[in-house]
Chain length 342, copies 2
DNA sequence: GTGAAAGCGCTAACAC
DNA sequence: GTGTTAGCGCTTTCAC
């Protein structure tokens, strides 16, 4: 490596190796038809000058950046942090890097994520909105690669990768039913389905499972909560018991709620799973470490990330936005100690 | 917005507005000396053509990208996810976006993060390594803006923003002492300080506090753990009690451990804080929601992110890497129910 | 105040 | 096989 005063360019390398810039460029891009001796001279010059390709110039020329935008509500929510981690990992497999936008559940920032795509800074956008409304769909028009995530804006003009909220919740509930539970509470649930959301979809799955078994849906077993935190999960259990409700199964709509549920039940000396089975949703890392460890729904985070990245790259290859479509991701029930498989 | 066949360029706008490209460029960059009528014509043309500046071209010309790399071990670790969130937020304040590299505690990937800087893709690097060794320091030479984070590689040729692991741990322990605790266990601690780490620094702080009070350090109160998970925290408490050790204060070296500690104590009907006070470290979001809520050390995550970003930007402005330096960030004890202020 | 022109460093035709 | 050249879309002197 040279005592670089200024950064070496293709031009410098060409001069140093006594070849043309085209040859150097070819060399860098693995052009096959090239005399070995030329190759060597070029490589030597590169080493000597400590040359590194300037990505920006390459980007301008090629129209690609090797960057993908991932727009999420909030990395403080474990689910999204873990999704981001998976997405970064997947992108790296293909030589891509990820810019993360955190929108903080702000509609304008969600729109801005889309608008930023017009400036060519990244090769594609993976967007997980929570506030966008149907009227915002025009903001998503464009020819850049786009993949939608989450429960909103199914009308968006792009592929939409969705987790199986409803069927997974149904399977979780069926598991409890099959294990003999007859009084299954759903913590975090709601019967309000005016706005599609994880909350409403998962509750619907729960209801479906009961109905399929000919069981009645008891509204006192549907425990609404505010935020999905462990404190709310614990509170929900306390309230339920205070009202004399004694479930033998609890389906918490995410793992944090489930952690609160477990902690409260243990506090109350309720045995898990002997007296009450507990099932969560998301399969966050901590679910393995609760006591007892948490049976939960793995919504296929890794698959979601993989499909999203692959769709972006295939749209990029085709040079066109893929049409609106829906890609359902398989879920998996992870059986752990809080409700073993029967 | 026009029925853009192809994306409009500066050139197109210039032609449409009957001015030169220079004027359009000036307009876009808020050049003050410009006839209002010209301004208007240009703006009209921009609207008409739906022109958006091409960032890549601007980047090539200006040598800047508006991107900062943040290289972290793992977004699945809540602390890092929350740090990333803060960093993204701070960067946005200055009009910057963040590329997140997740190195998975892999030394080669940590090195790659640094090497990637040579290609001009981002304007600076915030690096939080866990595996880099002193011999890797040469990899960090360069004139690009760099900020180091964490407990390693203090010899690196760049500013190093560090949290007050030792003094914060000392303060946390002093708080317990002041509250009357006489048998304070440290969960996650270690007396091995051969490798500098959060673990060893925080333990050292704990020891300092005891020594300052003239108390002896009892090795059976230093409870080593494997990973810092809540399961390990709970296990540590069980082991301790099984050995007949009855602490009246527990300092857990991070919040996940503390959550396990709390959950196990409640299980055992030990009253918090009456019988045992519990203090954690990190102030993750969940710490507010444990039951009882967790007294913990806020290591100044927001400040760390802010200082890191600001240092990157100031290095950028100065056109040179800032010299090696150490920037200590103030911590704050967050008093909550698990150990109220005395 | 505004315009002409020279690149930033690279890639991709196309010529030889 | 290798070289020449024309830009990618923008910013920035420097004339006028």
């Amino acid at each position: 490596m040279a005592t670089g005063s200024r950064k070496a360019t293709l031009h410098d390398v060409a001069k140093c190796a006594h070849v043309s810039v085209a040859s150097v460029s070819n060399y860098l891009n693995d052009y096959p038809y090239m005399r070995p001796s030329t190759r060597e001279r070029i490589q030597k010059a590169i080493d000597e000058l400590g040359y590194v390709t300037n990505q920006q110039a390459r980007n301008l020329r090629s129209g690609r950046t090797g960057l993908i935008s991932l727009s999420l509500p909030d990395l403080n929510q474990i689910y999204f942090a873990e999704l981001a981690e998976e997405t970064i990992k997947q992108a790296r497999e293909y030589g891509y890097r990820v810019i993360i936008e955190s929108t903080g559940n702000d509609r304008q920032r969600e729109i801005d994520s889309a608008r930023a795509m017009a400036s060519n800074m990244t090769d594609g956008l993976i967007l997980s909105p929570t506030q966008l409304r149907t009227e915002d769909i025009p903001e998503l028009e464009g020819d850049y690669p786009l993949v939608m995530l989450g429960e909103r804006l199914f009308g968006a003009p792009a592929p939409h990768v969705v987790m199986a909220n409803e069927t997974a919740a149904q399977a979780a509930t069926e598991h409890l039913l099959k294990a003999g539970c007859r009084t299954i509470a759903v913590v975090g649930g709601t019967l309000d389905d005016s706005v599609p959301s994880s909350r409403s979809m998962r509750t619907k799955g729960y209801v479906n499972a009961l109905v399929d078994r000919g069981q009645s849906v008891r509204s006192e077993l549907i425990r609404e909560t505010g935020e999905w935190t462990s404190a709310e999960g614990a509170q929900a259990v306390r309230n339920m018991y205070a009202q004399g409700i004694r479930p033998d199964g609890i389906f918490a709509l995410n793992d944090l709620l489930a952690m609160g549920v477990i902690s409260q039940l243990r506090e109350m000396r309720v045995r898990i799973p002997e007296s009450v089975r507990v099932v969560g949703f998301d399969d966050i890392d901590e679910a393995k470490y609760t006591i007892p460890s948490l049976t939960t729904v793995d919504p296929g985070r890794a698959t979601i990330a993989k499909l999203a990245i692959e769709s972006i790259l295939s749209q990029l290859k085709n040079g066109a936005r893929a049409p609106r479509s829906r890609i359902d991701v398989a879920f998996q029930l992870k059986y752990r100690a809080s409700s073993p498989q029967v």
